[in-house]
Amino acid sequence: MNQVISQWSHANQERAGKILDAYPEKRSAIMPLLYIASLEHDFASPDAMREVAELTGVTPAQVLSVASFYTMFKRDGVGKYLVSVCTSISCFLQGADEVLEAVEEATGIHHGETSEDGRFSVEHVECIGACGGAPAVQVNYELVEGLTPDKARQLIEWLTDSQPEVVLTDEMQQLFGGQRSFDWGSSEPEGAIAPVPAFGPYGSVGEDR
């Protein structure tokens, strides 16, 4: 197994090792490892990027170059709940701008900002593939479809009050969602524990298998 960063949690060290082994070339692991490093450092901080560089045998500048190309590696810190409001064409046609306004109002912050208490970050994003359930919002990349401005406000209030440790897409959809892109089928107890996609191999899943 490849060498990993020793101050990372044991689980993340193990994940990192597996990820490095999953590719023919180490450099391919930059993006997955950036997610793990973002969990360890709360965001894609310079230290996080330096660690990824070390693990993948490239320079920190090369990691920065990659990290800054993508919108999901947050280099300026991010709140506990990252609320991403889709304002792309299909959601726009269904009133996404009003949903964004409601979210901004309820959190008191605007696009690209993080609340002072570190609880929320808000951003408007381009299409997140939920056009059939427009307007759509993601919290830590977990999806809610068919929101209205009112429901969006309630969603933020609920996050503020109940502060879930794990953000579950099914739960949010049930409580605040409406029209869906398609029948979601059965629900499952997995979700995000941080503003990083909740994907087992990269960490961040609520009830990891």
């Binding site: 450099r27 490239v58 190309f69 999901m72 299409c127 056009c131 059939g132 089928g185 191999p201």
Partner: protein, 430 residues
């Protein structure tokens, strides 16, 4: 059983269509067994060629023909394109989430046919749930011996790695996707060399869309000829359409092509809500030039008919706009998308798309100038000379020229409205 190829399982078994138990129970992995034990790689490729299936990622290139270009050197790779970020498109999300084993079986058969031993499924980062489902299905497939060393004693071995994107539409472009998978910036590469010759890690690589590969098991079970027999000759098979915007019943629909747009929007989509009128629709994702009811309602929904009418079937995303839509605002939203997603390497795309966005923004803010219409067209012309479709390009990839479609569409079909807007009318959002 319905006569659908891709979605019958999820329609019939909404609760557990994603599990290996249900998959096997409904005939899953039979095609794999057949392919690995009864067929040679060559005969599989022949079936895919015979199916006449055209890729579902947007470009519509025949899959069998593409496979034929794969260079002989080893190792070689198969990469499934699940980046799905074209606004209006959400079909792959459903296929990944609701029937991951169908895709995985397709990947295994395709890999066997292409002599690939390591396949990758690239899923956009904003799709954690689909990725979880696919990853879990892969674990199940390993446990069941469908993946790994010496699959079911056939001597064939395969590993699949799921790779999550980081939020960048351009990574849907296949060479940008390969760069991204290599841990680089998602910048499209110069072509040639094409991926089939020099792809991932500069090795021969096939990149196919999720939907394309999900069709493979059916083809093996039922033959390529059976597939080709479905639908019009040059738009064979069924196809997923994502309906969104101002329609009564948005959603994904697996349909046989050949109907009219009227059928698709009004019968399948249920028409325009709240008794409003259809104003325009985008037939194939944000990149495609718009259609309007006066001209296109009777146009047939086939790849060729759409192309002939000056647009494209693209990713199958149909975005419907009703008569309340402010077309300049809609165009601005679309152009903003391309400006935001431009990788930034080509001068015309990097500078031109944001210039277009700024001019549209200014018009929306009530600061339009009469010369802005010419300016919009001139900038567009600098990105895509001649403003024709399919577009001429001054860029490496078609993203830049895609940003021009909304401009040519609104100036072609809605010039009076654009002019009125510049005249200083108030902005009515949507």
């Amino acid at each position: 059983m319905t006569d659908l190829i891709l979605t019958s399982r999820m329609v019939d078994h909404p609760a557990d269509s994603h599990t290996i138990a249900r998959y096997v129970d409904t005939g899953g992995y039979k095609a794999l067994t057949k392919a690995l034990s009864e067929m040679t790689p060559e005969t599989i490729i022949e079936e895919v060629k015979a199916s006449n299936m055209r890729g579902r990622g947007g470009a519509g290139f025949p899959t069998g023909v593409k496979w034929g270009f794969l260079a002989a050197t080893e190792p070689r790779y198969l990469v499934v394109n699940g980046d799905e970020s074209e606004p209006g498109t959400f079909k792959d999300r459903q296929l990944l989430e609701r029937d991951p084993h169908q895709l995985i079986e397709g990947v295994i058969i395709s890999s066997y046919a292409l002599n690939v031993h390591h396949a990758f499924i690239y899923i956009r980062g904003e799709y954690p749930k689909p990725a979880r489902r696919v990853q879990r299905a892969i674990y199940e497939a390993y446990e069941a011996g469908y993946l790994g060393e010496n699959i079911h004693g056939t001597g064939f071995s395969l590993d699949i790695t799921v790779h999550l994107g980081g939020g960048a539409y351009i990574c849907g472009e296949e060479t940008a996707l390969l760069n991204s998978l290599e841990g680089r910036r998602g910048e499209p590469r110069l072509k040639p060399p094409f991926p089939a010759v020099e792809g991932l890690y500069a090795k021969p690589t096939i990149v196919n869309n999720v939907e394309s590969i999900s069709n493979i098991p059916w083809m093996i079970n039922n033959s390529g000829i059976a597939y080709a027999a479905i639908g019009p000759e040059r738009s064979a098979g069924t196809r997923m359409f994502s309906l969104s915007g101002h329609v009564e019943r948005p959603g994904n629909y697996e349909v046989v092509m050949g109907m009219t747009w009227r059928d698709l929007i009004y019968d399948i989509g249920g028409g325009i809500p709240d008794g409003r009128e259809l104003k325009a629709w985008i037939p194939g994702g944000a990149s495609a030039p718009w259609f309007v009811p006066e001209e296109h309602l009777e146009t047939l929904v086939t790849i060729d008919d759409i192309a002939q009418a000056g647009s494209m079937a693209g990713s199958g995303a149909v975005i419907v706009m009703d008569d309340t839509t402010n077309v300049v605002a809609a165009a601005h939203r679309l152009v903003r998308f391309f400006a935001h997603e431009s990788c930034g390497q080509c001068t015309p795309c990097r500078e031109g798309t944001s210039w277009l966005e700024n001019v549209l923004r200014r018009i929306l803010d009530g600061k339009g100038r009469p010369e802005d219409i010419d300016l919009l067209l001139e900038i567009s012309n600098g990105i895509s000379p001649g403003l024709a479709w399919p577009p001429a390009m001054t860029t490496i990839c078609p993203l830049g020229p895609s940003a021009v479609s909304p401009i040519t569409s609104i100036t072609r079909w809605f010039m009076p409205e654009v002019e009125a807007m510049i005249g200083g009318s108030e902005v009515s959002n949507v």
